[in-house]
């Protein structure tokens, strides 16, 4: 208990330190258009937080991020397990994953704008950016499965489907969890980026874009604080779910 209070106190002090640095820098620069003061940014944030539209916007952006993330988990884990077990599937998918990894996010967003309607663009982009991370981690997890356990399954003539669900899956679970945590963070970033370009009606990206157009830089900072907070919140939630799962497994 005492340790946790001290840890939180330290964290708070660190945050305060960086806000202080931000304040000093904004005073030195003295131009809100380049760097608004923490006070201006937090005032904008307060204004946003009392508006109903903000919550609708957060709801839709969260929905897009989580849908893209969820799809990438389903496909990433499923195809990752198959690719980890069957070398041919791995060889077939690996070049595609390498290409997806190297294509600039902006190119993907622009292509997606051509293919989908505005609200689905961020979902597709989040999916495409998160999928390789989860796929790669799942494959690594499968490959790390103890060969000795597989040999035991062979001796006891365990069905392939049960080897997958009871041995491969659990062996790669730590890798899958780590992949999901990194993918979720990236999901938030790319969803916002895709929203800036595709401009769905209710989206954080649209507000980011508007604040650039209207030079409302404190608003830009306020929305950025909201994205960072959401990302942090959902990451903590995911970690808590994993911890809860471990405890009651």
């Amino acid at each position: 208990m005492m340790n946790s209070i001290l840890r939180n106190k330290n964290k708070l002090l660190i945050i305060l330190f960086w806000i202080f640095v931000w304040e000093i820098l904004s005073l030195i620069i003295a131009q809100e258009i380049y760097l608004p003061s923490p006070h201006a940014a937090f005032s904008s944030l307060m204004n946003l937080l009392i508006s109903k539209d903000t919550y609708i916007t957060i709801y839709y952006s969260t929905y897009r991020t989580l849908t893209g993330f969820f799809l990438s988990c389903v496909f990433g884990i499923f195809l990752g397990i198959i690719s980890g077990i069957h070398k041919t599937v791995y060889n077939l998918l690996n070049p595609l994953i390498v290409i997806i990894r190297t294509i600039p996010v902006m190119s993907i967003i622009i292509i997606a704008i051509m293919w989908f309607k505005d609200t689905n663009v961020p979902i597709f982009v989040a999916f495409l950016m998160c999928f390789p991370i989860i796929w790669t981690n799942t494959v690594s997890g499968i490959l790390s499965t103890d060969v000795k356990l597989l040999q035991m399954c062979e001796v006891y003539k365990i069905k392939k489907s049960r080897i997958i669900s009871s041995v491969y899956f659990y062996s790669s679970l730590t890798y899958i969890k780590a992949g999901m945590i990194s993918a979720l963070g990236i999901g938030w970033k790319v969803t916002s980026a895709a929203e800036v370009l595709s401009l769905p009606k209710y989206s954080i990206g649209r507000f980011l874009y508007d604040s650039k157009v209207y030079l409302e830089i404190p608003d830009l900072f306020a929305w950025t604080i909201i994205i960072v907070s959401l990302s942090f919140l959902f990451e903590s939630l995911l970690k808590t779910i994993f911890k809860f799962g471990d405890k009651y497994d």
Binding site: K148, Q151, V155, Y156, K157, K159, R162, S166, Y170, L173
Partner: protein, 225 residues
């Protein structure tokens, strides 16, 4: 009778078996005795069908089911004791029958109280007892024990040996028992093959009951090979 006939097996350039022949009597405990690395495990794995042969054939194992007690327990650490045994029985028995079998074997290895314990919470000796219970709970015709008591202290080794004999007496399966421990070989086996050289040769085939009145003699024979 299980027979390995003219078996050859090599790993890269290492010839482990060349025109090798050996018999295993049904419902008897046959020991493969010899130094580490001689090829004892490979021979057992060939019988179990988990190592393919380059040449030769294995007869007498048609439709046989195998169970195996490995050097290390090879249990699924994300499952508890009960689930680990249940894992190998799922495709063989209905749930009620499984519960009955698992409970009786857990009782035999004195782990009933630990049925819900995760594997990580068990000591090495306890984990190996689960592995032994799993091997006997499975309706195998042939049981392979690959140095199952390695790494256990003498007291635990003694306990495990008695447990093994107690369980074996109930079902009297064909057992291939691998060891390089003279005491274990003599105390647990009916027939002992002494293996040596590379490619491996059978140096001796000893029938333990012939030395029932003079165990020291058979031990000396094994030590002097």
């Amino acid at each position: 009778m299980i027979k390995l006939i003219n078996i050859s097996k090599k790993y890269d350039n290492l010839i482990l078996l060349k025109d090798f022949n050996i018999d295993f009597e049904k419902n008897k405990i046959t020991c493969l005795f010899g130094p580490s690395g001689v090829g004892k495990t490979t021979i057992a794995n060939i019988v179990a069908g988990i190592v393919p042969v380059d040449e030769g054939r294995v007869v007498g194992i048609d439709n046989s089911l195998f169970s195996y007690v490995f050097q290390e327990p090879r249990l699924l650490k994300w499952y508890n004791v009960y689930e680990n045994i249940d894992f190998v029985l799922k495709d063989v028995y209905k749930p009620d029958k499984r519960a009955e079998i698992i409970n009786s074997y857990l009782e035999m290895v004195e782990l009933s109280e630990y049925r819900n314990y995760k594997i990580d919470a068990l000591s090495g000796g306890m984990a190996q007892r689960v592995s032994l219970a799993r091997a006997f709970a499975y309706p195998s015709h042939i049981l392979i024990l690959d140095e199952p008591f390695k790494g256990l202290d003498n007291k635990l080794k003694g306990e495990m040996s008695s447990l093994f004999l107690k369980m074996w007496n109930l079902s009297q399966r064909t057992v291939i028992f691998i060891t390089h421990d003279v005491e274990e070989a003599v105390d647990l086996s009916h027939i002992i093959y002494t293996l040596k050289d590379r490619p491996v040769n059978i140096i001796d085939r000893l029938i333990v009951k012939n030395y029932a009145n003079n165990k020291e003699e058979i031990k000396n024979l094994l030590l002097n090979h």
